[in-house]
């Protein structure tokens, strides 16, 4: 008989091992799924996980990994603060949209002025947009005790409506022949978030994501605030005794995640996406939640998890077009990743015991 026994403390070893185990399980079960679909499982797994990095055309896919991974990492880093402290911001997608709208709004308002100041102003505006949107669930929570999960999630749909309204109205390109969508910011040199080195995929959003990783690492490991965040998540009562102000913590955590999500949106709208369009958001804010947990809410883990998630997107597209794999199979694979992580997580907190458990 197998029984589970609760560990006195979460296992350090399993904390590191479970994400790796989850990836391996995902590959195995994914392989079975692909075999059931009539594809060669080894070829498919290789196409998804290896080809973007080491194939004939990897020179094109590697930079794309940065483009796809950067917003995920940037948002997930922000979310990890709140998730550690027990502040559940599920609405990063909305903050991402608002960051893009604020950033693009500044850029479009200054068009066609050419000056070095345009882009930095857009960056600041993008962060402010995300922070303001995240403050709504924050203030409602500390003033009226509302649930930030619901409020932040609902605000995503509000932000989507606002995005559609902007793409069709205030921010519509006056030279766009009446079609929805703003001017293309990536074609406006002062506002464009271009690659820093040609063909590297390295745009300012990637740089910001790396800075965020380092900043988060230092804060969590070395700074008083990081200690308070961790303490609040583990034991709110102990945190209160230690002098943590829970209301301030809620606002700060939401502010950080909103600000970083806003930045991610701003870098995306000024770079890869280029314009404010009705369907600008493609779910980075939600996928980042998976990335945050897959990365164990640890900055380095998030960096790796963001890369892995980007890999499944890009590899998934390759598998679709070269192997004829259905798009839904890729989404299943991505879903499995979180599913298996949660499943094997039990090993972190419990130990497996063989033999008959003691009778109570």
């Amino acid at each position: 008989m197998l029984t589970l026994e609760k560990r006195p403390n979460p296992s350090k070893g399993w904390t590191l091992a479970t994400p790796v185990l989850a990836v391996i399980f995902t590959m195995i079960v994914g392989g079975i799924l692909f075999a059931a679909l009539g594809k060669n499982p080894f070829e498919t797994i290789r196409t998804i996980f290896v080809d973007p990095l080491f194939s004939e055309f990897a020179y094109y896919y590697r930079p794309q990994l940065l483009v796809k991974g950067a917003p995920l990492v940037l948002i997930a880093i922000g979310l990890s603060f709140g998730f550690r402290a027990g502040v559940w911001n599920i609405g990063a997608e909305g903050q991402y949209i608002m960051g893009a709208l604020f950033g693009a709004g500044v850029g479009l308002a200054l068009y066609p002025m050419e000056s070095w100041i345009v882009f930095p102003l857009m960056v600041i505006a993008g962060a402010i947009g995300g922070i303001l949107w995240a403050m709504i669930p924050g203030i409602l929570k500390i003033k009226f005790g509302t649930n930030e999960i619901l409020v932040s999630l609902m605000l995503v749909y509000v932000a989507e409506q606002l995005l559609a309204s902007m793409a069709l109205g205030a921010m519509r390109n006056p030279e766009g022949m009446g079609f929805p969508g703003s001017r293309n910011l990536s074609q406006y040199p002062s506002a464009a978030n271009l690659e820093i080195f040609a063909n590297s995929g390295m745009h300012w959003g990637v740089v910001a994501a790396l800075i965020a990783v380092i900043f988060a690492y230092i804060t969590l490991a070395r700074h008083m605030f990081g200690f308070q965040v961790r303490l609040s998540g583990q034991s709110p009562r102990a945190a209160a005794f230690a002098g943590v102000n829970p209301k301030a913590l809620v606002l700060i955590c939401l502010g950080i995640s909103g600000g970083l999500a806003g930045l991610a949106g701003m870098f995306e709208v000024a770079g890869p996406a280029g314009q404010v369009s009705i369907d600008f958001n493609v779910g980075y804010g939600f996928t980042a939640i998976i990335v945050a947990f897959l990365g164990r809410l640890h900055p380095i883990g998030i960096l790796l998890a963001g890369g892995l998630m980007a890999l499944t997107y890009i590899g998934g597209e390759i598998a679709q077009s070269t192997l004829g794999l259905p798009g839904a199979a890729i989404q299943l694979l991505q879903g499995m990743l979180l599913f298996f992580l949660l499943a094997v997580d039990v090993l972190t907190n419990y130990r497996l015991k063989f033999g008959q458990g003691e009778l109570a």
Binding site: Y60, Q64, L168, P180, L194, G274, S277, E317, S321
Partner: protein
């Protein structure tokens, strides 16, 4: 300034040379398709995929096709197209309006590859555009809708407010009004091409507001299902026949038949005669088909609808024939005057009698 100018670097130029090779060296012509929804949407993407399969069968082994489904309209679309080019595609069909700028961006990097963008208006030396005169089919729908409604309220689920969709609303309204002066149109915009949940919500809302005819410009069969559930409501298949909902609620349909076009364009690539063109065909060439009118429609109305269809097919009748005023009452077309293609292509106004505003 163009971002990610692959051609700019020497490395990319070298790749271009190698990339041209496999495509030329192999006998098979490779054709890629980029889809906005899943192939199983039962509507827009389903018909494109049917045409892809028929085209591939037509060439009996001489042509290989690849596709990627549910591709977001933005930077992801650029990557999918580039990936197809790298894998040796000679011709790529991008089948949604939002792929317009991505298609042009990728096409600029790979001048030897031919691109075909559906429903857009921007062309290049290696980018053609193609679309169908769906509004001709809408005239027939409007006639049936106006004749059949008992509540005199017709619901219309709008997708993205671009001229293509607005033309459809105007055409349907004019022909409904012709047979039923009391008819009233209620339009709900969902700002997406495919979102079964939103489509079903929109249909239910319209039915609750008293509409007993639902027209849709969205891709899924969700409105059909909602109408079936409500009962006593009729609908029309959109983009595809949606015959599984016949004889009621679905009483007829507009079917997009892309097969002849896909065969002709692929043949042109094989023959080396491909040039950039703007194709806009309707009922006369069979690009737009009217699906079978079921027995739910009285024989007399059915005969009128078929006569209308035939008169459009033989060119004796134009759906936009004056006198027609714009919504604000100003004159658009004089008595007997017909609309020119330029005005139709950029149509951004409702005709007189439609209430509500086009979102902007």
């Amino acid at each position: 300034m163009k971002r990610r100018t692959l051609l700019a670097s020497g490395a990319a130029a070298a790749t271009m040379a190698t990339l041209g090779m496999p495509a030329r060296a192999q006998d098979k012509t490779k054709v890629g398709f980029v889809y906005v929804g899943p192939t199983g949407d039962g509507g827009w993407t389903y018909e494109h995929d049917q045409a892809r399969q028929k085209m591939e069968a037509h060439f009996d082994g001489a042509v290989e096709t690849v596709f990627v489904e549910s591709v977001p309209e933005g930077p992801d679309a650029e990557r999918v197209m580039t990936q197809m080019v790298l894998a040796g595609a000679d011709l790529i069909f991008t089948t949604s309006f939002g792929y317009m700028d991505p298609t042009l961006n990728v096409a600029a990097k790979f001048p030897d590859v031919k691109f075909e963008h559906a429903t857009g208006f921007k062309r290049a030396d290696n980018v053609s555009t193609y679309s169908a005169r769906f509004y001709e089919g809408r005239a027939v729908q409007g006639h049936i809708a106006g004749s059949m409604t008992k509540t005199n309220k017709i619901g219309y689920i709008g997708s993205v407010p671009i001229p293509e969709v607005i033309r459809g609303i105007n055409s349907a309204y004019l022909h409904a009004k012709k047979v039923n002066p009391d008819v009233e149109f209620k339009v709900i915009w969902i700002f997406e091409w495919l979102n079964p949940a939103k489509e079903a919500d929109a249909a239910t809302t319209l039915i609750e507001q008293g509409c007993d005819v639902i027209l849709q410009h969205t891709d899924s069969t969700a409105p059909q299902a909602a109408a079936q559930e409500a009962g006593n409501v009729i609908t029309f298949g959109q983009a595809s026949d949606m015959a599984e909902y016949a004889p009621s609620p679905r009483v007829s349909s507009i079917i997009d038949n892309w097969t002849p076009y896909y065969i002709a364009r692929t043949q042109a690539v094989i023959d080396g005669t491909w040039t950039s063109v703007d194709t806009w065909d309707g009922i006369s060439t069979g690009m737009v088909e009217i699906g079978e009118i079921t027995e739910t429609v009285p024989a007399e109305i059915k005969a009128q609808a078929e006569a209308l269809r035939d008169s459009i097919a033989d060119g004796s009748y134009e759906p936009f024939t004056g006198p027609i005023n714009k919504q604000d009452g100003s004159a658009w077309l004089g008595d007997g005057e017909t609309a020119d293609d330029g005005t139709l292509a950029g149509m951004n106004f409702y005709v007189e009698g439609i209430t509500g505003d086009i979102p902007q």
